[in-house]
């Protein structure tokens, strides 16, 4: 197993090989329309250790951590945790996805603290 696959499994606490590609996670994902690779494909690419395809994907930043995939996976895989692991690998290299300085004053004032804090928790290191 490549160090990358080991890392993803460790950070997510999931056994990637349990996935049998039924596609149920992608079928119920509410934001799938904006994803370049779908949740089931994320798991497949992770099984194969296709690091760059995963870390350069848009999908890992589109996921809203809604947990729908997790509660529906017939194999009990927590897909949201796998996606979090991928985001964490990027964030731990200081590759932030959101820069609060780029938001206008109006945008910052407009959104409630719960939105700003959760966005920064998910998208910055």
């Amino acid at each position: 197993m490549s160090p990358f696959v080991t890392k993803v499994q460790q950070l997510s606490g999931q056994n990637l090989l349990a996935c049998y590609q039924c596609g149920k996670c992608s079928a119920g994902c509410p934001v799938v329309s904006q994803m370049d690779i779908l949740p089931n494909q994320i798991i497949r690419l992770a099984q194969l250790g296709l690091r760059e395809d995963l870390l350069e994907s848009k999908a890992i930043w589109v996921c809203a951590s809604c947990m729908t995939c997790n509660v529906r996976c017939p194999k009990g895989i927590n897909i949201a945790e796998v996606i979090e692991a991928l985001r964490q690998i990027m964030l731990r290299r200081r590759e932030d996805h959101v820069d609060v300085k780029e938001l206008s004053d109006a945008e910052r004032a407009d959104v409630p603290p719960i939105a700003l804090i959760s966005s920064l928790r998910k998208f910055t290191s």
Binding site: Q10, L11, S12, G13, P30, V31, S33, Q34, V62, A64, S65, C66, M67, T68, N70, V71, N78, A80, E81, E84, A85, Q88, H97, V98, L103, E107, D110, V111, P112, P113, I114, A115, L116, I117, S118, S119, R121, K122, F123
Partner: protein, 292 residues
């Protein structure tokens, strides 16, 4: 049962309507709660990475404050706070090693945490402790024929281990609305995510979600939607502006916190409803129904 109330950040500003209406309503129901002394932000999202222990400090610190207050448990209103704190609590209960690390890190706290503070959402208190029969008996102003679509979103019900109701088909909010005399309108997207924190850097995706969720509720005849999360409220109410820009056919609907309808039913004053904090003005509807 004496519960310590954890408000969370947004209930002190953007969601003051959530807090004031809830506190007025539960007082009318005879429930006594004290706000936790020196509470801090819970972090809003539960840490999903196995090794990310640092983000459990904030929830655990709040649980220590509950112990210091000598309360029997923590009462939450915001669905995200509820989820984050309850999940951290479950992790502390199931992992003595993690708990020991956290306690070591916070060695200057007067109490060590032992995983022994139960975390409740207000809806559980109303359903399981007070019971909806008693809530119904306390109604001073019935909601009449108001058609209410209850939106559950994610964090009240997922994951199943901490959810307060059925993971695919929750009914707790609908049951409460019926107890208050309203017509509960079921709709297929009641547990579909509003895209949550994407609202900060990708409001476009929230517009898609809001369009679908609101249209689904309207399609079933809803006149108003109720929520239990300030982020859902922002996305489903305030983001209707962006939604209408992107989808010209989009029809608006007022979005309330469930506690605002509870407060109306319990005879609270309009002052406690803070109806000015909404984007889509709920007053014409509520006035039309004789509720304010």
């Amino acid at each position: 049962m004496k519960l310590a109330y954890y408000p969370g950040c947004t209930l002190k500003n953007h969601a003051k309507n959530f807090e004031d209406s809830a506190l007025c309503a539960i007082e009318a129901l005879g429930v006594e709660v004290d706000e936790i002394d020196r509470w801090n932000c819970c972090g809003t999202v539960f840490s999903l990475a196995t090794d990310d222990l640092i983000h459990h400090l904030a929830p655990v610190r709040n649980l220590i404050r509950v112990k210091e207050a000598g309360a029997d448990g923590m009462l939450t209103l915001c669905a995200m706070c509820f989820n984050t704190i309850k999940r951290s609590n479950e992790r502390m209960k199931s992992s003595p090693e993690d708990l020991a690390v956290i306690n070591d890190f916070m060695y200057r706290e007067k109490l060590a945490y032992e995983g022994d503070v139960p975390v409740y959402h207000l809806l559980e208190l109303l359903r399981d402790e007070l019971t909806f029969e008693k809530v119904a008996a306390a109604v001073k102003r019935s909601l009449g024929d108001l058609k209410v679509a209850s939106y559950y979103g994610c964090y009240l019900v997922r994951p199943a281990e901490i959810g307060i109701d059925d993971v695919e088909n929750p009914t707790v909010l609908d049951d409460l609305m019926k107890a208050l005399g309203a017509d509960a309108v079921d709709f297929p997207l009641k547990t579909e995510c509003c895209a949550s924190y994407q609202t900060v850097d990708n409001p476009d995706i929230v517009a898609d979600r809001t369009n679908q969720i609101v249209s689904s509720a309207l399609g079933q005849g809803a006149e108003v939607m109720v929520v239990s999360c300030p982020l859902c409220a922002f996305n489903l109410d305030h983001r209707q502006r962006e939604t209408a820009r992107k989808y010209p056919e989009f029809k608006h609907i007022p979005v309330l916190y469930f506690t605002q309808l509870l407060a109306i039913a319990m005879g609270c004053t309009e002052e406690s409803l803070k109806l000015d904090l909404h984007h889509v003005d709920p007053k014409p509807l509520l006035q039309g129904k004789g509720l304010i």
